[in-house]
């Protein structure tokens, strides 16, 4: 009899301990960054992921989101699509994986069908394709074509301000890749609609050391403006070559989100002087003076003046996930939290503020744009300075047939 009672007590104690342990087990969700830490876009991806990881560390140190912590997984794909797809396949079964950040347009396009089948959401830089065909893929900010269209508006205002008549002519030069071509898928149509002539675009292989051949062709086409794509330091190098050819004296140069950062402008201040950049995130001192920039020093990244401003993009990715987790946990709790719930929740983030690091969140059932606004910056005396307020970018996606 005593043996039976003892056995019963042991079993009950065992069950109690298991129950208590499981209720105190760490609640965690996973965030997968298919990143490039050592190849062509590492210059911006490394600081951006630092921002994301630091914000997550800070959030976790404060207890996470309602007790749920975020596990940051960064994989170095070297901007190689085959490695990106393989890495996704390796990590897709990670417990409570909710989100994949595909850093690089070609990787995003390749991983999208897989993550969609797995009912996870994927963040991509700026593909308009995913706004045209709504699904589980969300852009970080306005799409590339929208930002290009906003630049066309800026160009027209500049043309008018300078008292010029006739039709301005715009040149385009970028990487020969899915990313390089994306701005024109709707952006070209917008330029035509607004009465801006476009020279045939120039595409060059990523990693090219010299761009004078392509630039000379654009100069021969008598363009007044040139839009330079590529992830820094590529745009810096393209404009450096344009400066050598004397083109920066007569042609106004533009860059997209990944144009020269403050660190790049230190290398070639003379060549980059006057370059205008449309950005969906804070740049230059706007970024460094932001209160959240203190995470850079708090987590031992170095001096604040050395902070690459794309650090703030990473924080915005993490803040967006934080906002979604708050809603999702309130609505369904931790146990039911999965990719489908996060997908539904991301569509409810309309208007969410990310401490002004970028415009208000524009995700909704009909929008996959991370925000709608861009701000123009200009290189002046080696510094990246703000030359506009936040401006709502036009919808260029709808002008293109995807």
């Amino acid at each position: 009899m005593m043996r039976r009672i003892l056995c019963g007590v042991i079993i009950l104690t065992f069950l109690f301990v298991i129950g208590v342990m499981s209720s105190y087990a760490q609640k965690e969700v996973a965030y997968l960054s298919l990143a490039d830490y050592t190849d062509g876009i590492a210059g911006l991806n490394v600081p951006a992921d630092m921002g994301c990881e630091d914000y997550i560390k800070d959030l976790n140190s404060r207890g996470g989101v309602d007790g749920v912590k975020i596990k940051f997984i960064g994989v170095d794909t070297r901007y190689d699509v085959a490695r990106g797809v393989s890495a996704y396949k390796r990590y897709r079964t990670e417990p409570k994986l909710l989100l994949i950040n595909a850093i690089g347009t070609p990787i995003g396009k390749a991983v999208a069908p897989l993550s969609t089948k797995d009912k996870l959401i994927t963040l991509v830089p700026g593909d308009g394709e995913f706004q045209a065909n709504l699904g589980r893929i969300f852009a970080w900010g306005p799409t590339y074509q929208d930002a290009f269209a906003a630049t066309v508006d800026w160009l027209l205002a500049d043309w008018k301000k300078k008292g010029k008549t006739g039709i301005p002519k715009l040149g385009f030069i970028s990487w020969d890749s899915a990313y390089g071509r994306e701005p024109l898928r709707g952006g070209k149509e917008y330029a035509e609609k607004m009465g801006v002539a476009m020279a045939p675009p120039e595409f060059f292989p990523q990693g090219s050391l010299d761009h004078t051949v392509y630039l000379s062709r654009l100069a021969k086409a008598e363009v007044n403006y040139i839009f330079v794509g590529g992830v820094d330091p590529t745009p810096t190098n393209v404009i450096r070559d344009a400066h050598k050819l004397g083109l920066t004296k007569t042609i106004q140069f533009f860059c997209d989100y990944w144009g020269p950062t403050s660190l790049g402008t230190r290398l070639h201040p003379e060549a980059l002087e006057g370059v205008v950049m449309g950005s969906y995130y804070l740049r230059g001192d706007d970024a460094r003076k932001h209160p959240l920039a203190n995470l850079w020093t708090k987590y031992g990244r170095g001096k604040l003046e050395d902070m690459n401003e794309v650090y703030t993009i990473g924080m915005a990715w993490a803040m967006t996930l934080e906002a979604a987790l708050k809603i999702a946990l309130k609505e369904v709790g931790y146990k039911k939290l999965d990719g489908e719930v996060i997908y539904q929740t991301y569509q409810k983030l309309t208007g969410v503020q990310r401490a002004g690091l970028q415009g208000p969140c524009a995700y909704s059932p009909t929008s996959r744009r991370g925000s709608l606004e861009i701000k123009f910056y200009q290189v002046r005396a080696g510094k990246v300075v703000s030359v506009s307020d936040w401006i709502k970018s036009p919808d260029a996606v709808s002008l293109h047939k995807f």
């Binding site: 190849d39 085959a82 490695r83 797809v85 393989s86 396949k89 069908p113 089948k117 990693g207 190098n237």
Partner: protein, 165 residues
């Protein structure tokens, strides 16, 4: 009476056929085995010549429309930037067509990053001084279906550059 007989015959036939149909589901037609092959099977580790040679994986028997991921198994001791020890490295991928055939070519980036383990300069362009080809030898290649989980293997041989006369 006639109609009653007809009904009985139909019912009898159904009773005879239904178990057969039910049993057939117990023995489904065997799925075709997933395969993978590579052309060429032997590649010279010569730079930049390798960039001009297409290395193409083809396969049959995959689930229609599934993504097939091609990984190279790294032998112990072969280190690679961005790959943890024990991990395989992705070198190609392709989508199976409606009949389960797939084709995937090794992109230039994989040739540079993986076969030549290239480094980059401070301005992030390829640094030819850092070319560090993987050791010549026969490498195992794993192709896996993202939906079906099917796995097929083959080999790819890398040979040292042949000295030019």
């Amino acid at each position: 009476m006639n109609s009653f007989r007809k009904i009985m015959i139909v019912l009898s036939l159904l009773m005879f056929l239904l178990p057969l149909v039910a049993c057939s589901t117990l023995f489904p037609t065997p799925k075709p085995k997933a395969t993978v092959a590579v052309t060429p099977a032997q590649v010279e580790l010569a730079f930049p010549g390798i960039l001009r040679i297409p290395i193409v994986f083809t396969g049959t028997g995959w689930k229609p429309k599934e993504m097939v991921v091609v990984d190279m198994v790294l032998p112990p001791g072969v280190q690679m930037q961005g790959v943890k020890p024990g991990e395989d490295v992705g070198i190609a991928y392709g989508e199976a067509d409606d009949t389960g055939n797939f084709k995937g070519e090794v992109p230039a980036s994989a040739k540079l990053n993986t076969f030549f383990r290239v480094g980059y300069t401070l301005i992030l362009s390829i640094d030819p001084k850092t070319l560090n080809p993987i050791p010549p030898g026969v490498y195992t290649i794993k192709a896996s279906g993202a939906d079906s989980g099917a796995l097929a293997t083959t080999t790819l041989e890398f040979v040292a550059p042949i000295p030019k006369k």
